[in-house]
Every structure is written in structure tokens, then in C-alpha cells.
């Protein structure tokens, strides 16, 4: 079983990177916005970005250690790196690309590379140039080129960002399949919560060069703990909060009091609620409800998005005056959408206690 330990410190101008990636999970995700330092972390592990100080090791093999002065060249790190744009060598054929990192005899290399290409469904493309391939095919070649060198670890830097729509979804599934038999650890960096939720067992959330949260992916999404983490995991609704008593929190932005069966700790400063989790209520107001006062409605192919005034808003106030980020979002799909069409708009929408995110 593999284990990565990467304690990385780097300062470039105003930006400072201080991260610790310590995990023995097979599939590791690093979630962050662009410029958060997530790619820099990955590049530091591969040795293609300088590090000021720290310690990097995989499976007990030290790649970098500032104290003892160890700093292996990227060539010696045996870490596969998939670039955002795949970085296929444009003047080499697919076959030559896959053979580029091999050291054996020409014949041996051709066999290995050919086998790998066949495994990834690229048989018959050996003589093509990268420019003649689709984005998905380029990705397969890039992965074949990495896998054929049998790296100890694979790093994927925003692997799907160059693809669009259908292909992106398709390649995510395909990537999981292609990596299925790979025994080492794989670290994927992305700004897409969906990609990482699907891919990673262990998740690191990075912001402004620091790790905000680390944990098993599902628990990070279930309980993000911090407002920045909740935002990165896709939560849309936030309110400032004041704890009134151990079972009651006043949601300042939303203008309602929320009741909890469980005990609430004092340090809660914000609340979050995911847009898909509201429940419509018709008639009487119930506990933890907010008045359904519609500001705007967006119709999407498979979803309706309702934007609702918080109860702090005065009657007749325009959405623009309230500020769009203060409106509550309620996203409705499938069966629920049908119910709404039958029964009409609700009077209230209800927050379920287990879905309310309690944030520091």
C-alpha cells in the first residue's frame, strides 16, 4: 500500500504555499479554485517546480528534503505527471510519444508501447501525430505514455478541463477504468467538486496556498466545517449565524431562527444549506421554514432554479437591491419538479436539520 507525505513550503512574491499532503489512500483529490496553489503542489511533488523547504516522500523513498539537501531530479522521481494540456510531443507520432520515456531496446519498447496503446483502445493510431487526435484520444495517449514507464505514483493536473461536455463526463468514467489496475497512488487536482467526489477517497481542500480541510471525501462534503470549504464543495446558500441557545441558531442573513434537536456548539458563525435539499411546504408554517417569496426563476433543461428573498428583505424590494448572493437558491429536479407543477408553488420551503451545514 502506498503512502505519500509531502510537506511543501514555497514563497513567490505575495503568494505563499504551505501544504501538507499526508495520505495512504489510493485515490487522492486536491480541490481548489484557480490560483489556490493546488497545481503548484502537484508540480512540486513531481520536481518540476522549485520548493523552498519541506520534505517529500513516497512509499518511504525520499524525493526531497531541505534539511539533508536531498532534491531528486524529476527524471529520478519516477512520478507520472499528466498535464492539463497533455503535453504530447507535437512532432512525434503517437507511438514515438509513448516510447519516449522507455529505455530498453527499440523492439522491446515498441512491444511495450504497442501493448499499452492497445489496452487504451488506441490501436491503429500509432502513426498519427497528436494534432490529428481528438481531446479524448490525446488524453488516452498521455496516460499510456505515463503508464508504460510504470511510475510509482501518478499525478493528474486538471485532467478534464481541456475537454467539454459529453466527452468530459465520458473520460471521467474512462479514466477510472484505465486506472483500475494501477497499483500505486493517484493524486488528482481539480476545481471541479463533481470530478473529485467521483474520483477521490481522500480529499484535501486548498485555498490561498493552505489546506483548509482534509478528510475522507464524503465526510468533507457532508461536514465541510468551514464556509470556504462549503463553497468549494458547491454549497450555494450561506447565512451569518448567532447561536441563541444550544438548540437555536438565528440565521442573520436569512432572517429566521432555526431549531436543532442536537446540541449546537458556541463557535458556529455561519450556516450553509445546499440548494437541492429544500423541501416544499404548503399551508401552515413549520419549523425551520423560510417564506417562499420568489425573486427570480431560471429554467434549465433538467432543473428549475428558484431564487428566493430572505426574510430580512422588505416587501416589494427588488432582487438587485437585496443582492443576488443573499437570495436563497432552491434547485428542483425530476419528481419534485413534477409535484410542483401539479400542486403549484409552495408557501414555505423547509430546511432539514441533518442537511444544515454548521460552519465556523
Amino acid at each position: 500500500m502506498g503512502r505519500i507525505y509531502a510537506d511543501i513550503h514555497r514563497k513567490i512574491g505575495e503568494f505563499e504555499l504551505n501544504v501538507l499532503i499526508d495520505s495512504d489512500a489510493k485515490r487522492i483529490g486536491i480541490l481548489g479554485a484557480s490560483g489556490s496553489g493546488k497545481s503548484m503542489t502537484l508540480r512540486s511533488i513531481a520536481g518540476i517546480e522549485d520548493v523552498d523547504s519541506g520534505h517529500i516522500e513516497i512509499n518511504g523513498r525520499v524525493l526531497y528534503d531541505s534539511d539533508s539537501g536531498v532534491n531528486l531530479r524529476p527524471q529520478k522521481r519516477n512520478v507520472g505527471y499528466m498535464f492539463q494540456n497533455y503535453a504530447l510531443f507535437p512532432t512525434m507520432t503517437v507511438m514515438q510519444n509513448v516510447m519516449a520515456g522507455l529505455r530498453g531496446s527499440r523492439e522491446e519498447n515498441m512491444n511495450k508501447a504497442g501493448e499499452m496503446l492497445a489496452r487504451f483502445g488506441m490501436k491503429g493510431f500509432e502513426k498519427r501525430l497528436p494534432g490529428e487526435l481528438s481531446g479524448g484520444q490525446q488524453q488516452r495517449v498521455a496516460l499510456a505514455r505515463i503508464m508504460v514507464t510504470e511510475p510509482e505514483m501518478i499525478l493528474l493536473d486538471e485532467p478534464f478541463s481541456a475537454l467539454d461536455g459529453y466527452l468530459r463526463d465520458h473520460m471521467q468514467v474512462e479514466m477510472m477504468d484505465m486506472l483500475q489496475d494501477y497499483p500505486g497512488q493517484v493524486v488528482m487536482v481539480s476545481h471541479s467538486r463533481d470530478e473529485l467526489y467521483r474520483f477521490s477517497e481522500d480529499l484535501f481542500v486548498v485555498r490561498e496556498g493552505s489546506i483548509l480541510r482534509h478528510g475522507d471525501t464524503r465526510s468533507v462534503f457532508r461536514d465541510p466545517r468551514r464556509i470556504e470549504v462549503a463553497k468549494l464543495t458547491g454549497c450555494k446558500n450561506f447565512s451569518d449565524a448567532r447561536v441563541i441557545d444550544p438548540h437555536t441558531v438565528h440565521a442573520i442573513t436569512w432572517g429566521i431562527d432555526l431549531h436543532f434537536e442536537k446540541e449546537i456548539t458556541e463557535d458556529i458563525r455561519h450556516l450553509g444549506y445546499r440548494a437541492h435539499y429544500f423541501e416544499p411546504v404548503w399551508g401552515e408554517r413549520q419549523e425551520n421554514c423560510i417564506r417562499f417569496d420568489l425573486a427570480r426563476e431560471d429554467i434549465l433543461p433538467f432543473e428549475r432554479n428558484y431564487y428566493i428573498y430572505p426574510e430580512t428583505a422588505r416587501d416589494g424590494q427588488e432582487a438587485a437591491d437585496v443582492g443576488y448572493d443573499e437570495l436563497l437558491c432552491w434547485f428542483v429536479q425530476g419528481e419534485e419538479q413534477r409535484v410542483l407543477e401539479e400542486r403549484g408553488m409552495p408557501d414555505y420551503i423547509k430546511m432539514k436539520e441533518e442537511h444544515i451545514l454548521l460552519l465556523e
Binding site: 508540480r43 513531481a46 520536481g47 518540476i48 531530479r73 524529476p74 527524471q75 529520478k76 522521481r77 519516477n78 512520478v79 507520472g80 505527471y81 498535464f83 492539463q84 494540456n85 503535453a87 504530447l88 510531443f89 507535437p90 512532432t91 512525434m92 519516449a100 520515456g101 529505455r103 501525430l129 494534432g131 505514455r145 505515463i146 514507464t149
Partner: protein, 230 residues
């Protein structure tokens, strides 16, 4: 063609030989210098770049003056070369090559540098993470990817080296059959008022220049396919 019969063809061979040798030297030197310079920080880069480009900006006669200063057999370095290695530069074919190389080198260097700077750094990083040696990365990835830029640099270098006049006339002189290049021959016969011979050499130069460019364009055409049009 009465003219062709009594014509001394040596200027053509001297010019071609000089052009080819100077281009080969400039090619490797230019790639090497470009590779070194782009690794430097901005300040060092500007200084080095200025020095390496200088021969292109200076009037060739000024470059010739400096070359004479260095290689003259009455000065230290010239004496050293002569006494130690029995190498003479002034008034020899070697002088032609040195003059042409110094003048044409910046074209190679600048084109190579521009082409290298255009290269997606991820290609080099990818080569490194795949375990390729720096030498293999340079010759198998960087140079082919920079192919079109390097090729145009080579064309220009060859054209410039072949036609070099100012520095050559000062350093190597115009010794028929030895250092008498086409450019010098044209200047010489015009002084004698022989416009027919001059015109003939002009046509020869035009044809060679055109063929050279055409040939290299064909060779790089294969690489050009990968360059995106815009």
C-alpha cells in the same frame, strides 16, 4: 556563352563553402547560446542578448575592425595562434569563415531563441517526468518543435554568411582563388566597369539564394504541418 567559358568560377565555390561552414558553426553555436540564454534571469539575459546580437547591428566594417584587432599577426592572440598552432586568420579562407560566422551568427541565435521561447514549457517538464535526459529532451523535443523557427534562422544565416562583404574584405581580403568571394568579385568587377560579369554573378547569387530558401522550406514543410494556422 562566351563569358561562361573564360569565367573564373572560384568565387562561387569559395562563397558556397564559406556559407555552408559558417552556417554549420552558427547553427550549433546559435542553438547552444539560445539554450543558455533563456535559462538566465531577465537581467543577465538582456546583457548576454545584447552582446550576442551586437555583430548584427554593428556595421560589418566595425566588426571587421575588431576581428583584425584580435587576429592580426602583430597582436597577442594572432601571434599566439600562429606560433602555437600555426593558424593564420588574416588573408586566409579561415578568415572568410570567421568573418561570415561572426556576422551571421546573431541571426541563428535570435531565431533559435525566439523559437525556444515559444515552446510550451510543459513539453520539457513532460520529458523530465518521463525520465528523458536533458540532451534527449533538447534534441528530440525542443529542436523539432522549434523546427520552423530554427529552419528560418538557418536560411537567413546561410544567406547572410554567403553574401558577407564588409568584415570579410577587411579580415580575409580579396585574394582570387583563396578568399575572393562572389560579393567581393562583384564589387571588384564593377570598379573595373565590367557590368556584364557583375550582372552574371548577381544572377548566380539570386539563383542560389532562391534555391536555398526553397530547399529548406521543403524540408521544414513536414514540420510546418503541425503549426497551427491563424
Amino acid at each position: 556563352m562566351e563569358l561562361a567559358g573564360r569565367l573564373d568560377w572560384s568565387p562561387l565555390w569559395i562563397s558556397l563553402k564559406t556559407g555552408v561552414v559558417a552556417t554549420i558553426i552558427s547553427f550549433f553555436l546559435g542553438l547552444w547560446a539560445a539554450r543558455k540564454v533563456i535559462k538566465k534571469d531577465y537581467r543577465t539575459k538582456s546583457i548576454l542578448d545584447g552582446i550576442l546580437t551586437l555583430p548584427m547591428v554593428l556595421p560589418p566594417t566595425v566588426a571587421g575592425f575588431f576581428l583584425l584587432l584580435i587576429f592580426s599577426r602583430r597582436r597577442a592572440f594572432g601571434i599566439f595562434l600562429n606560433d602555437t598552432f600555426d593558424i593564420q586568420v588574416v588573408h586566409t579562407w579561415l578568415g572568410c569563415i570567421i568573418a561570415a560566422t561572426v556576422i551571421a551568427f546573431p541571426l541563428m541565435y535570435r531565431n533559435a531563441r525566439a523559437a525556444f521561447e515559444q515552446i510550451d514549457a510543459n513539453l520539457v517538464y513532460a520529458g523530465r517526468t518521463l525520465g528523458m535526459s536533458e540532451l534527449a529532451i533538447f534534441w528530440k523535443i525542443v529542436v523539432p518543435t522549434a523546427g520552423p523557427g530554427i529552419a528560418s534562422g538557418t536560411i537567413l544565416t546561410f544567406a547572410r554568411a554567403m553574401g558577407e562583404y564588409g568584415a570579410t574584405s577587411m579580415l580575409a581580403g580579396n585574394i582570387p582563388g583563396k578568399t575572393g568571394t562572389v560579393s567581393q568579385r562583384i564589387a571588384m568587377v564593377i570598379q573595373d566597369g565590367d557590368y556584364v560579369t557583375a550582372g552574371f554573378w548577381v544572377i548566380v547569387v539570386l539563383v542560389i539564394a532562391f534555391i536555398a530558401i526553397f530547399l529548406i522550406n521543403i524540408i521544414t514543410g513536414r514540420h510546418m504541418k503541425n503549426v497551427r494556422k491563424w
